[in-house]
Each structure stands twice: as structure tokens, then as C-alpha cells.
Amino acid sequence: MTTTAPDLKKPRGKKRGGGVLGNTGLYLATGVAALLFLIPFYLIVRNALMTDPEITGENWKWFPTDIQWGNITEPFKDETVDFGRALWNSWVVAVLHTSGILLICSLAGYGLARIPYKHANKVFYGVLVTLMIPTAVTFVPSFVLVSSLGWVDTYRGLIIPGLFSGFTCFLFRQYFLGFPKELEEAARVDGLSYWGAYWRVVVPNSLNFFAAMATITFISGWNSFLWPLVIGQDPSAWTIQVALSAYMTNQTVNYHLIFMSTAISILPLVLVFLFLQRWLVQGIAQTGIKG
């Protein structure tokens, strides 16, 4: 392990973190790793703001001679791929995907965790069975169903089949099992029904968890590729990921345009990450497993 290397050479006492040398090695290793991790982001910005002759030029240029701000509008003018449409589709799909999953799976998770129905356990086993099989592996049967419903190339086809996530339901159930019972009981004493207690007491007191789940779900919705590729047979139904993929197989390669499109596609998520990182990290740490 790189961290321990400085300590190996010169063990310095019992204090963790070592002395000046240990710390220097530690920060050096972290700094180098961080620089390597930032290279791809740097390349997106560099290529997005350069001209093609500069990108493909004889000598490597670290920064554009003149920053090409005009590149920003180019993806929207491109005639081979309807980038604006794809961007809009991605927003619609990711937002509806996230709100749908949160609504449906949180209700089910609460029902399974807290409503004393005698067969609740059997129902829960039915949900657990679906956890064993990742949805990606079943895209063929799902496509068969969706195409028989005539949902190919529609928002319905892109969104609805993904809303019934056994995993999200499972995570909500686990969360609600740990929700303080006293709060709900107080609400029930005040005469609220299960439904009323859920919306007026449980949800308002669980906003942190909802935020964490929303962030994780939004990211996976925005970034998903296989299902939109299967459903989006017609370019009008492409999401931004399918559009980016199409750029890579295009006949003519237009570097600055491709990288500007990539930058635009990544921007919302980078913002989500930077501003909602607290919830995201908390959510991942709490649920242990991915979204």
C-alpha cells in the first residue's frame, strides 16, 4: 500500500500520521493520485474549448490558444444527432424515473416494514427473489414485453419498466424498520390513519434518507445506457447517453463538438455531486450497497 510506504522506511514513534517525512509522502501520494483522477475532466474541458486543428495538431497543447466559447452552442446545431432533443429526453426520463421510484418504492418499503399484515413476510420474500437477479441481465425479456405493449420509442417504455426496483424497496424497508416507532404512535393517537401518519410524520422526518435515495436514483437514471439503447430505436427517443454513443460511431469525427456534448452531459451530475455530496456519501455509507 502506498500509504504505508513512508512509514516503512522510517518508523517514527507511536504517533499516527508520522512526522514531516511521513506526512510529505502521504500528501505526495494523495496529490499524485488526485492529479491522475482529474486528467479525464481536464481533457473534456480542454477538447471542448479548442478548435479541431488544435486538438489534432502536430504538437500537444495543454491549453487552447483562444478559448472557443462559441463551441458551447455547436452541439445544438449539429445535423447528424439531435442533441437538444436527447438532452431534453434525458431530463424527462431522469426526473420521472427518480420521482416515480421514490414514490412507489418508499410506500412499499413502509408497508412491508411497518404495517402489521399477517402475510407481509411472504410478500417480502417475493420481493427478495427479484434482488437475486440484476435487471441488466433480463433486458431481453423486458424488451419482449415492452415491444408487445407497443412502448418502443416512448417515454413510457423508457421510464415505467424501471420503476419497480426491488432493491430500492428493500433499502426503504430497512430504513423504515429503524424509524422511531414513538413518532408514528403519537400520530396515530392523534387520530391519523396509516396514510396520514406516513405523509405527515414519517416522510417529513425522513427527508435526509429520501434525499440520499433521490441523488443515487437520479444519477443511475441519467447515466443508464443499455435500456435506453434497447428502447430508443428511433433517434427522437434517444437519451443523451445514446446520443453520445452515436457520436462515437459517426462517419465524421468532430472532436470539439463531441467533447462539448460530453461536457454538457456531465455538468448536471457534477453539480449534483458537488452540492449534494453529503447526502450521497451518507446514503452510500448507510445502505452499504450501490444504487
Binding site: 500509504t3 399477517k118 417475493g126 433486458f139 424488451f143 452510500i284
Partner: protein, 321 residues
């Protein structure tokens, strides 16, 4: 409060209340409410998960080309055909090679990053964000950066520029299976993209190791550094490590996006899901054979998952490790 929810598959906590509710009428009320809360989800689960799977199993025994309604019963012919297809069995080999590369490297890198971030004080949040940020990027976008900029086979690709400074010739990273440089492209991409995610899991686990353990070790004369790492940190992380390794394995099994985009025109390096896509949605649109392939891949992942359950000791709780 533990920071990780234990996945308690074998003994799900009872949904019924420990103490009987004091008020009357609640039980009938409960049945109705249960279905009110879970109904929409369960209906969707049946329609969009169970029905397609059942249909797919049914379809796998029929001739179904260019149509999703079966034409004639052919028994196990679809299974025989797809298992005889060298592309499909080759895909399973590709997965094995890929897993052999990506699982240990991601494990080591994410653990290494977690140890770094855990120990530094200055700009801790900044470094954590830097390593975590790639998780925001889609595999498609990452594939684009890797293919068009870093590992572009032409002279102005970044990797070729860098090796050019040391006097090496250009390498066609993706366009040539021999030597198989494409593995370097694929593995570095996934490493970059997912290491930060697993780093977060390791960080959470590192924070849960009691400080007394290190103090006791110091009193016993253990040197900080390798010794404490080997005899305290690593064993304390065992549960997380096992979980991470098996998650990585399942994620590798489902790899599609980056292979599809990096090797779109190639015949080599095709993982199972790409082959499945080509069978069911490619030129032949053979849904019968595609369904058979889906059933086979599902059974394989089930075996991996059950094996995982066994190793992770679902239901035994963390103290039983």
C-alpha cells in the same frame, strides 16, 4: 448506530409488531392499508419483472425470429444453439478475464485511496471529492474520453503523445487484439469510474474501527505502518472487503456500456451482455435464442449471488464473521 445496514436475507425482521396494538379495528385496517401501500409496487413488479421472466423462459423453447410471439416449439434447440455458438462461450471467457483484472485492482485501489483520505487532515474533503467525482460520469462519457482522447490510436491521443516523449511508436490501443492493449483501456476506465464509490464504503468501515485497537497494538509494540495495517486494519475490514469483492464481481458480469462503445466494431473482447444484445436485437433478432441466453446468464448470476450469500453469511450478522 451502525453505518451499514446489514443485509439480513435469511431472517428478515418480522413485519408484525412485537406487541399487540392496543386499539381495536386496526388489524382489518392493517390488511387494507398494507395493500394500499404495497399494491402499486407489487403490481408493477409482477407485470414488469415476473411476467417477462416467465415469458422469456417460455419463449426460449420456441422458434421466435423477428417476432416476440413464438411460432413453433423446438425444445432445447435454442439452448443447444447458443451454447454451441463460440461467440457466446467466448463471452464467458471475456467476463472471466475481465473479472480477473478488474476485481483485484479496484479492490486494492479503492482501499488504498480510502487509507490515504482517512489519514490526511489537510484538504480531506477536497481529496475525497476528487476521488469520488468520477462516479458521476456515465460509462458512455468515460468511454468517449478514453477512446477519443486518452487512448486514441492516432498520434495526438494523450497516451501516444506521452509514450512518444519517451521515443515509443504509436500504439493502436483498441483497433488491434494482438497485443491485447484493449484490456488496459477497459480496465483503467472502470477503475477510474468506480474506485471512488468503493472508497466511500471502505472509508465508512475505517471510521468504525475502534481506536482502542490501535492503542492496544501500540502498547504491544506493533509498529505503525505495515504491521498495524496487516494485523488490525485488514482483518477489521474483512466484512467490507468481501462485500466489495462480490459487488465488483456482479458489476463486472453486467458490463456492457464501455465494451459496447469502446469495441463497437471489434470482434474481440465481447462480454456476455453484448453477445446477448447481438443475438436478440442484432441482425437476426432471434428472441428465442436470446431468451435462452438470458436464462443461462440469469442462472449463472444466481449461482454467483447464492455463493455470495454463503460467503457473506447472510443473516448471520457481522459479528459472526
Amino acid at each position: 448506530m451502525s453505518t451499514t445496514t446489514k443485509i439480513d436475507l435469511a431472517n428478515p425482521a418480522p413485519a408484525k409488531p412485537e406487541k399487540a396494538r392496543p386499539r381495536r379495528g386496526l388489524r382489518a385496517n392493517a390488511t387494507l392499508n398494507f395493500w394500499l401501500f404495497t399494491g402499486p409496487f407489487l403490481i408493477g413488479l409482477i407485470v414488469f419483472v415476473f411476467v417477462p421472466m416467465g415469458w422469456s423462459i417460455y419463449l426460449s423453447f420456441f422458434e421466435a425470429r423477428f417476432t416476440v410471439s413464438p411460432s413453433s416449439f423446438i425444445g432445447f434447440d435454442n439452448y443447444r444453439a447458443i451454447l454451441d455458438n463460440p461467440d457466446f462461450t467466448g463471452a464467458l471467457v471475456t467476463f472471466t478475464v475481465f473479472a480477473a483484472f478488474i476485481v483485484p485492482t479496484t479492490w486494492a485501489l479503492s482501499l488504498g485511496l480510502a487509507l490515504l483520505v482517512h489519514r490526511i487532515r489537510f484538504m480531506k474533503a477536497f481529496f475525497r471529492s476528487v476521488f469520488f467525482l468520477p462516479t458521476a460520469v456515465s460509462y458512455v462519457a468515460a468511454a468517449l474520453i478514453w477512446k477519443m482522447s486518452i487512448f486514441n490510436g492516432v498520434r495526438f491521443g494523450m497516451a501516444n503523445t506521452v509514450i512518444g516523449w519517451f521515443g515509443f511508436e504509436n500504439v493502436a490501443w483498441l483497433a488491434n487484439p494482438d497485443p491485447p492493449w484493449y484490456w488496459l483501456v477497459i480496465v483503467t476506465l472502470r477503475l477510474w469510474l468506480q474506485a471512488g464509490f468503493y472508497m466511500i464504503l471502505f472509508l465508512a468501515a475505517l471510521q468504525n474501527i475502534p481506536a482502542e485497537l490501535y492503542e492496544a497494538a501500540a502498547i504491544d509494540g506493533a509498529k505503525p505502518g505495515w504491521q498495524t495495517f496487516r494485523y488490525i486494519t485488514l482483518p477489521q475490514l474483512r466484512a467490507t472487503s468481501t462485500a466489495v469483492i462480490l459487488l465488483l464481481l456482479i458489476a463486472a458480469y453486467q458490463a456492457f456500456d464501455e465494451f459496447w462503445n469502446l469495441l463497437s466494431k471489434a470482434t474481440w473482447g465481447q462480454p456476455p451482455l453484448v453477445e446477448l444484445y447481438k443475438t436478440a436485437l442484432g441482425e437476426n433478432q432471434d428472441y428465442g435464442q436470446g431468451s435462452a441466453g438470458a436464462v443461462i446468464l440469469t442462472l449463472l448470476i444466481l449461482i454467483i449471488t447464492l455463493f455470495q450469500g454463503k460467503i457473506m453469511g447472510f443473516g448471520r450478522g457481522e459479528e459472526a464473521k
